[in-house]
């Protein structure tokens, strides 16, 4: 089993930021003080390359935010390694955060409501030594605001967060991340708290930053449609395990894991004809994500999987790699039953 995620057109240069076989176990106590371990992420790998967008898709509780927080070094890894430009990442601190920045989900709480945009962005510039004098700060803050399409910038520089809309706030948050001049951006569901009408603008902004400025972006979402719109590569997580990954069209057009299949079928898509509400009922019938303090053995998807067999309960399958760099962890492929996944439409799922 390879550890680094292979991609269809991965270059030889090492990933700007990579998680290699990382796991995260949290210890929690219940009211009686009994210890329990939450296995939030198990043996996940992800690699972020210059100018490319990787989407991390999964339902809530699948461990995608935990993975992002490990990449941001908010949580230390329980096992595995975070690698920055091919080397073991330095400990969390200014040096690391100069490279890696995280955009939070909720722009209403990720900005200090008491300060003006000038202070919020200006402090970052000063802390990182990009600007020293008042004039330099003002000039660079204005250019940052222009970069995130907050125009006229002169009008926004002296606003406070409460005077702005969610979309504008998220742009300020993105500008704050950019002010550090990072090489990697981690977006933790950056559009899920925003009004639907402005989500596309923010997505386009992120896409432009990656294309034009060569940033690497990890885009975390539960919305496969936005992932399809923005990203180059998709990784699907289920209950802390990465189950499938690869170039987005391959993953979305021909999912190689039953869970990806379920996820795609349950997202509304006007292009897919002939499948109506019925599918969604099926999807709901398949049950709930497992409790991560006592996850199912083997492949954690097996209690919900229509193809489950004995091996699934025994062990998590190794990675199977397909032609265009797509890969999946599923026993179907190990047993030569890949065809079943393609043949059955979701209507025939048991």
């Amino acid at each position: 089993m390879t550890t680094a995620a292979p991609t269809s057109d991965a270059t030889d240069e090492p990933a700007l930021l990579a998680a290699v076989d990382v796991s995260k176990h949290f210890t929690v106590r219940d009211q009686l003080g009994r210890k329990a371990t939450v296995r939030a992420v198990e043996h996940a790998s992800v690699a972020l390359h210059r100018g490319r967008v990787v989407a991390l898709v999964g339902e809530s509780g699948s461990g995608k935010t935990t993975l992002a927080r490990m990449l941001a070094q908010f949580h230390p890894v329980s096992s595995g390694e975070i690698r920055l430009a091919g080397h073991r990442a330095p400990p969390a601190g200014r040096g690391y955060f100069r490279q890696v920045q995280l955009i939070f989900q909720d722009p209403f709480s990720s900005l200090n409501t008491l300060h003006k945009v000038r202070h919020i962005l200006g402090r970052v510039l000063r802390v990182h030594g990009h600007a020293h004098t008042r004039a330099e700060v003002e000039e660079q803050v204005l250019s940052l605001l222009n970069r995130v399409n907050l125009t006229p910038a002169e009008e926004f520089i002296d606003k406070r967060p409460r005077e702005m809309s969610g979309g504008q706030l998220q742009r300020v948050a993105i500008a704050r991340a950019l002010a550090v001049r990072p090489t990697v951006l981690l977006g933790d569901e950056p559009i899920s708290m925003l009004d639907v009408s402005i989500r596309l603008d923010v997505l386009n902004l992120l896409a432009r930053l990656c294309d034009e400025e060569g940033l690497a972006l990890l885009y975390i979402t539960h919305d496969i449609a936005s992932a399809r719109y923005l990203c180059d590569e998709v990784q699907v997580m289920y209950a802390g395990q990465t189950v499938e990954g690869g170039p987005k069209e391959a993953v979305i057009q021909s999912p190689k894991h039953p869970y990806t299949r379920l996820l795609i079928d349950s997202s509304p898509d006007p292009d897919r004809t002939g499948r109506g509400l019925r599918d969604q009922d099926d999807a709901e019938d398949l049950g709930e994500p497992p409790n991560l303090t006592a996850p199912p053995d083997g492949c954690r998807f097996h209690p919900r999987c229509p193809f489950a067999m004995d091996d699934c309960r025994r062990a998590f399958p190794d990675r199977t790699t397909f032609a265009d760099g797509q890969w999946a962890h599923c026993w179907l492929h190990q047993h030569g039953r890949s065809a079943e996944l393609d043949r059955t439409t979701s209507k025939e799922l048991p």
Partner: protein, 306 residues
């Protein structure tokens, strides 16, 4: 801030508070120049005189002018209150905010110290310590009061800091590499100003009350004059028994007034923080009633006409 100053309760409270501060500041000048006396001077012609004539608020049994004492006492009481308030809130901010922000071992230790101090029976202890020190001045009394007053404030501040620390914006500031000190002083402290000012006002009043209480029980000596000493002397020198109300009632009333003023400011702060508590302004109610009455009249006329 503008909301703060337009709130009626806050305005009244601050006005009273400000008036007392002013008296405390210019009190000695007022007594010597305007009244032309001093709080210790004895007028042998008017021992225990009732209010009126030369002594606006009467005199004590030993012939001292009550108004002069009341004005001078304001400085003593307010100074003790302010000093103890500054001390209490200062220590509380240091302990509470540090513990809440840093967390871990430091927090556990600071919380333990806070709890020990909070559970001490403060008034009896203060009595014992002050009694032991004998003849202590107002500064020592203020320090003593502050020392026993901070734990409760510290717990408020720690809880609030804990909640702030968990917010995304603090995480985000960590990500951009902001230093700890600036994070506390520039980013978190401004969120605590409301609670700090309300705690401070309360601490000041508690200080004034406690000082009066200690004085009444005969703790502390010297010739400093405070509202507390006035009441204490009135009781010791049979002013209370002989019904010399002008001697003990004014200082008592002033202490109560100071307490009311702080309570008003704090109610106002509550209303700003929690709009559910807000009452409609009288002017708005009057306008709305007039408007509704006018409409009723109009409909009535229409009905009659048809």
């Amino acid at each position: 801030m503008s909301q703060f100053l337009t709130n009626g309760k806050v305005r009244i409270g601050l006005a009273v508070f400000g008036a007392f501060l002013l008296i405390a500041l210019i009190g000695s000048w007022l007594v010597s120049s305007v009244l032309g006396t001093d709080p210790h001077r004895i007028d042998y012609d008017a021992l225990g005189a009732a209010p009126g004539g030369e002594h606006l608020l009467g005199t004590t049994t030993s012939g001292q002018d009550v108004l002069a004492q009341l004005i001078t006492g304001c400085r003593g009481s307010v100074a003790v209150g302010l000093l103890s308030g500054v001390l209490a809130v200062g220590v509380a901010a240091l302990v509470g905010v540090t513990g809440g922000f840093i967390g871990g071992r430091t927090d556990q230790m600071l919380t333990a110290v806070t709890n020990i101090f909070a559970t001490l029976p403060s008034f009896p202890l203060m009595l014992i310590v002050a009694g032991y020190m004998a003849n202590v001045g107002p500064v020592a009394i203020a320090l003593l009061i502050g020392l026993f007053e901070w734990p409760v404030c510290a717990r408020y501040l720690r809880a609030q800091t804990l909640s702030l620390r968990g917010r995304d914006f603090v995480q985000a500031l960590r990500m951009v590499g902001e230093s700890r000190w600036r994070m506390v002083l520039v980013e978190i402290m401004p969120h605590l100003t409301g609670i700090l000012s309300s705690l401070f006002l309360r601490a000041v009043v508690t200080g004034v009350f406690t000082e009066a209480g200690l004085r009444f029980l005969g703790i502390g000596g010297g010739d400093s004059v405070t509202w507390g000493t006035m009441i204490a002397f009135a009781q010791q020198q049979e002013g209370v028994v002989r019904g010399m109300w002008w001697w003990f009632a004014p200082p008592g009333l002033f202490i109560a007034l100071l307490g009311t003023a702080t309570a008003l400011v704090n109610f106002g702060l509550d209303e700003i923080g929690n709009p559910v508590l807000r009452h409609s302004s009288r002017a708005a109610v009057r306008r709305a009633t007039a408007h509704m009455a006018a409409r009723r009249d109009r409909t009535n006329t229409v009905e009659v006409a048809s």
